[in-house]
Each structure stands twice: as structure tokens, then as C-alpha cells.
């Protein structure tokens, strides 16, 4: 059991929980997640996964991890009702992280909606490694951009798009992505957000001949690699076949080029496969 050090609202839509968890904070790398167990209601069972938004290893309290989320269902509603100093059950850090590029210098972070969350932690680490960081956030509307002020501080260039035009470019991320890449001299892209967005971002990156690291989101039963709920279809290295790979521990970060974006829900007819489990 860990303790909640702070619970604050982040803009109008998002909640932030800062949790005292020294071992997790020390070990955490950008793109990894923690698996939280919402309190009290035992009618929903499973843990909920959240990307690590930030870690603080330097404060005058024990090291902490911070997560950011919005209310989507009973689990996030219960988390949103938690208060400072309450105990919280946390497992982590889990998964493969983003990797800091060895040769490339100019990094573009592309976040869709709440998917921007892990890119803050990544951005700081990239800067610590002496890289150039640019930021492109998209969301349905201005209030759904995660921490835009911090994003502006983070990015050498910071641009926003909203579906309703309430902030930045009126339209989709992918409409301005090419321009950003050219303007910033981007050499590597990091992205997290809706699957369709990440598929398009990967496609554009490949057209520009630059790599894209993508952080996938899948429903997770266990979050620790044992249940096979969370798989992502991934091309094997020689491109000859596809394997269903666990997103929780073999991801959530993948090389975008390896993901079989068009294979979702198109597997062999379900009837030919066994029922259950």
C-alpha cells in the first residue's frame, strides 16, 4: 500500500494523483505505467493501468510518481474520489519504455488527448539527455489538452490542434504533422493517443523516413504479462508473419513500423478458433 501525497485537478477535465512510491519512482522510465487498484467497490475487480506522468525523486518527501486521468467509468470515478493521505494499492513500474535515441537529436512528441500523459516524463528525460524536444498535442477541445502550459514550457516549438478549433489549429494532428516535422527538423517521433491517430502518425513518419515509437493502449486483465488479454498484432522482424504480443510487458511502447495496424479485429474467423479462455 502506498500513500496519496496529493490530489489536484489539472485543468477542467483531468485529475492528478501523486503517490509516494520510492521504489517505483526510482525505477520508472518514460512510457512505463503503473497499475492502480481503485478502492472500496468490489463489484469491479481489476486494476486500472495509468501511464506515469512524472516522477519526483528529489523532493523533501520520499520519491513519488504522478498519474493523470479523466473519469471514464467506475474505476476512474473511484480514483477521482480519493483524498490526500489515503492508502492506494499500486503495482509498477510495468512495461518497456520509450528509448532515448543514440544518434538522432531532434525529437517530436505527438500526443492525442489523455495520451499526451507519458510524453511529459519522456520530454524531461530527452532534455536531460541534451535532445531538442518539440511538442504537438491534439484533442477534441481545448479543455482536453493535457497541461498545455507545461507543454509550452517543454517544447522548443509547441503546437496544438483541436477538433472544434477552440485552441490552435482547427482539425487533426495529422494535418499539421508534416509541417511540424519540416519546421523542427524532426529526426524521431514519439506518440501516444488513439490507435487510429498513432497509425496515421506512423505512416507519415515512415513517409519522412524517420522512426516512430508508439505507446499502445489495450484493455488489460492482469497488466503483468500472464493473462494474454492485451495483445497487439506485431510483424515479426523479417515481415513474414504476425504475432500477438503482450502490450503490458512486451509494450506498451513499440516501434510503430512493426505494428500490423490493419489487422485489428480481422483475425481468422472467430468460429475456427476455440471458445473461451
Amino acid at each position: 500500500m502506498a500513500e496519496i501525497l496529493n490530489h489536484r485537478k489539472l485543468g477542467d477535465e483531468y485529475h492528478s494523483l501523486t503517490i509516494v512510491a520510492p521504489e517505483i519512482a526510482e525505477a520508472a522510465k518514460p512510457g512505463q505505467f503503473v497499475n492502480l487498484r481503485p478502492p472500496t467497490d468490489r463489484s469491479y475487480l481489476l486494476r486500472r493501468p495509468f501511464s506515469i506522468f512524472r516522477v519526483n525523486r528529489r523532493g523533501n518527501v520520499a520519491a513519488t510518481v504522478e498519474v493523470v486521468f479523466d473519469i471514464r467509468g467506475p474505476g476512474t470515478a473511484a480514483l477521482a474520489a480519493m483524498r490526500r493521505h489515503e492508502p492506494i494499492d499500486i503495482v509498477g513500474p510495468i512495461g518497456r519504455s520509450f528509448t532515448i535515441p543514440k544518434t538522432q537529436h531532434s525529437c517530436l512528441l505527438v500526443g492525442g488527448g489523455v495520451g499526451a500523459t507519458p510524453l511529459f516524463f519522456l520530454g524531461e528525460e530527452l532534455q536531460n539527455a541534451g535532445k531538442r524536444v518539440d511538442v504537438l498535442w491534439g484533442a477534441a477541445t481545448a479543455s482536453r489538452l493535457v497541461a498545455p502550459i507545461e507543454a509550452k514550457r517543454l517544447g522548443a516549438v509547441a503546437a496544438f490542434t483541436t477538433d472544434d478549433g477552440s485552441e490552435g489549429h482547427h482539425g487533426l494532428i495529422t494535418e499539421v504533422l508534416g509541417e511540424m516535422i519540416e519546421r523542427c527538423g524532426t529526426e524521431v517521433i514519439y506518440t501516444c493517443g488513439p490507435r487510429q491517430m498513432m497509425a496515421s502518425v506512423t505512416k507519415i513518419a515512415l513517409e519522412f523516413g524517420i522512426p516512430a515509437q508508439v505507446a499502445m493502449e489495450e484493455l488489460m486483465g492482469c497488466g503483468i504479462g500472464v493473462c494474454m488479454t492485451c495483445v497487439t498484432p506485431v510483424w515479426n522482424r523479417d515481415g513474414t508473419g504476425i504475432a500477438n504480443v503482450r502490450t503490458c510487458v512486451d509494450g506498451p511502447v513499440f516501434n510503430g513500423a512493426r505494428i500490423a495496424w490493419d489487422r485489428y479485429a480481422k483475425e481468422e474467423a472467430a468460429a475456427a478458433l476455440p471458445a473461451g479462455n
Partner: protein, 307 residues
């Protein structure tokens, strides 16, 4: 605290702990070994393996329901050869008894998997007959006494270790299927596999799992599982049973033992609390010693019902 004996006899295997793992809820133990000392477990029942690797179903593969989890994984696994070359050597080093769960879509397939396991250092085979039988209009083997019997006899001919038949609760008469399995040479029974179920997302009108129908596990099904264990134990009191379905804590373990289970498997609870095996074992010891019960095995089948 007086000494409490938590060891159990499972069809001749002497297990130091009554807790085993439910197939598919512990992979092959490697991931879980970061969270618990595998030696706290009586045995590890690994994810069901098939002759060739299976890719499983499309995602989404799971949905939460009230006190339950619906899954339609489709038995994704890397095949028996991968188990033998990679998982088993590691498991053997951990010094915990290994029960290999096997699956297939034809009797032949079950037999072939069993054949590969013939000389492997495993302690038992669990036969997951809750698989569609391609030779019988996709009915599950476990839904029919003849198919059950055919698979168990086939596996029986291949391996010398005890065989546990893992039965499906989705049948009219579980005792009839249990009888068929026992007659065909099963040493014991694993009860229960998941309950067939379905959820629909009301907003999209899509089934919540891509496989449409899935298997329900977790506390929601515990009363169904307890009844299954009770009924089969009443019919075959001398047959060892691995009881499972919705176990969340030590009291649940005792409930299954009172109903007739020799050992109890932890499934979905591992997802919620990866240290569950550890904590439940320690709570079990406390429960028994606070009640001055010296041995868990002595509680087996002791639910008080009028004869």
C-alpha cells in the same frame, strides 16, 4: 501459534501447500515469480498448451462484469515444444511441482501433445477439455461423456503421471461427465473452468469481446463453482478435486475444501493481487490456528448436510 498442517494429498502427490494456480492465470510462473515465492504454492498449473502455437482471438479479449471478468483469449500459447524447451527447464529449477495443462481441437491433437510430454519432468497433466471438438460440430469435449472419455483415454495411453480432467460447468450433469472422465482413467478432476457468458456494449451494440461469447471467472461464479465441487465430491468422495472459481481470500479456500476440494486453484485473483498466493497462504494458517484446527486436509468435504 500452534503448528498448522497445510499440506494436502492430491491424488498421491503430496503438496506442501493447498494452493495451486489456475491454468491461464499464471502463465508459466516466470512473470509471477517477481511477486511471490513460487515455493509457497503446492503446484503450478501452466497455461494450456497445444500441439502448434495458437494465435488466439482478436481483441478486445476481456470485459469486466459485476464481480466478474469475461475473457475470450482463444488459448493463445506458444505450443508444447516451446513449453518443453523454454518454460519447463526454468520451472524445474524453481523446485515446485508442475502440472501441464493441455488442449486441442481433436482427440488426436490431445494425444500428440501428451506424447511429447511423456518423458518430461512434470508431476501431472491437466486435460482442458473445455475446448471445441472439431469432430463433433464444435461442441466442447467437456459437454459430452463420449468425447470426454475419448480424450482422457487417449491421453492416458501417452503419459504415466496422474491425469486431471478440467471440466466445464456448462453442462446438465457434471457428475455424468466426471464419471466418464474417471472411468477413462482420470486420477482426479479440476472444477471449474469458466462459465460461458456474453456482454454487449450498449453504446456500440458490439459484443464486448471480439470472440462474442467468452468465459466468466471471478467472485461472481464462486457459488456456481462451490456447488460443482460439492456435487461431484458427493458422487465420488474418494476422487481428488482441484477446486476453483472466484477464490479471493482464505475463507474462500476453506469454503472449497469444505465442499470437497483437495487443493484449491487461484485464478483471476492473481490479476488483482499478484501476491495473492502468498497472502492467502498466511491467512489460511492463521484462520486454522485461531480455530484450533490442526490440518486443512481434515476439513475436506466436511460441510454439514443431512445424510
Amino acid at each position: 501459534m500452534p503448528r498448522v498442517d497445510l499440506s494436502v494429498d492430491l491424488g498421491g502427490m503430496k503438496l506442501r501447500s493447498p494452493l495451486v494456480t489456475a491454468s491461464g492465470c499464471f502463465a508459466s510462473g516466470r512473470e509471477m515469480s517477481e511477486f511471490i515465492d513460487l515455493k509457497k504454492l503446492g503446484a503450478i498449473v501452466v497455461k494450456s498448451m497445444t500441439l502448434k502455437p495458437w494465435a488466439g482471438k482478436a481483441t478486445p479479449r476481456m470485459a469486466e462484469t459485476s464481480s466478474g471478468m469475461l475473457n475470450a483469449i482463444g488459448l493463445q500459447n506458444k505450443g508444447v515444444d516451446h513449453f518443453l524447451s523454454t518454460d519447463l527447464p526454468w520451472l524445474t529449477e524453481q523446485k515446485v511441482p508442475v502440472i501441464a495443462s493441455i488442449a486441442g481441437n481433436t482427440t488426436q491433437e490431445f494425444m500428440q501433445v501428451a506424447e511429447r510430454l511423456r518423458s518430461a519432468p512434470i508431476h501431472a497433466v491437466e486435460v482442458n477439455i473445455s475446448c471445441p471438438n472439431l469432430e463433433d460440430r464444435n461442441n466442447m469435449f467437456a459437454h459430452d461423456p463420449q468425447s470426454t472419455s475419448a480424450v482422457i483415454s487417449a491421453v492416458r495411453r501417452m503419459v504415466d503421471v496422474p491425469i486431471f480432467a478440467k471440466l466445464s460447468p456448462n453442462v446438465t450433469s457434471l457428475t455424468a461427465i466426471a464419471g466418464a472422465a474417471l472411468e477413462a482413467g482420470a486420477a482426479g478432476l479440476s472444477l471449474i473452468n469458466t462459465v460461458m457468458a456474453m456482454s454487449i456494449d450498449v453504446d456500440s451494440a458490439m459484443p464486448k469481446v471480439a470472440g462474442v461469447v467468452g468465459g466468466l471467472s471471478g467472485p461472481a461464479i464462486k457459488p456456481i463453482a462451490v456447488r460443482a465441487v460439492f456435487e461431484v465430491h458427493q458422487a465420488y468422495p474418494h476422487v481428488p478435486i482441484i477446486g476453483m472459481g472466484g477464490v479471493m481470500d482464505a475463507r474462500d479456500v476453506i469454503e472449497f475444501v469444505l465442499a470437497g476440494a483437495s487443493a484449491v486453484a487461484l485464478g483471476t485473483v492473481n490479476f488483482i493481487n499478484p501476491k495473492a498466493g502468498h497472502e492467502i497462504l498466511s491467512d489460511l494458517g492463521q484462520f486454522l490456528s485461531s480455530r484450533k484446527v490442526g490440518s486443512l486436509a481434515a476439513m475436506r468435504g466436511q460441510v454439514k448436510v443431512e445424510g
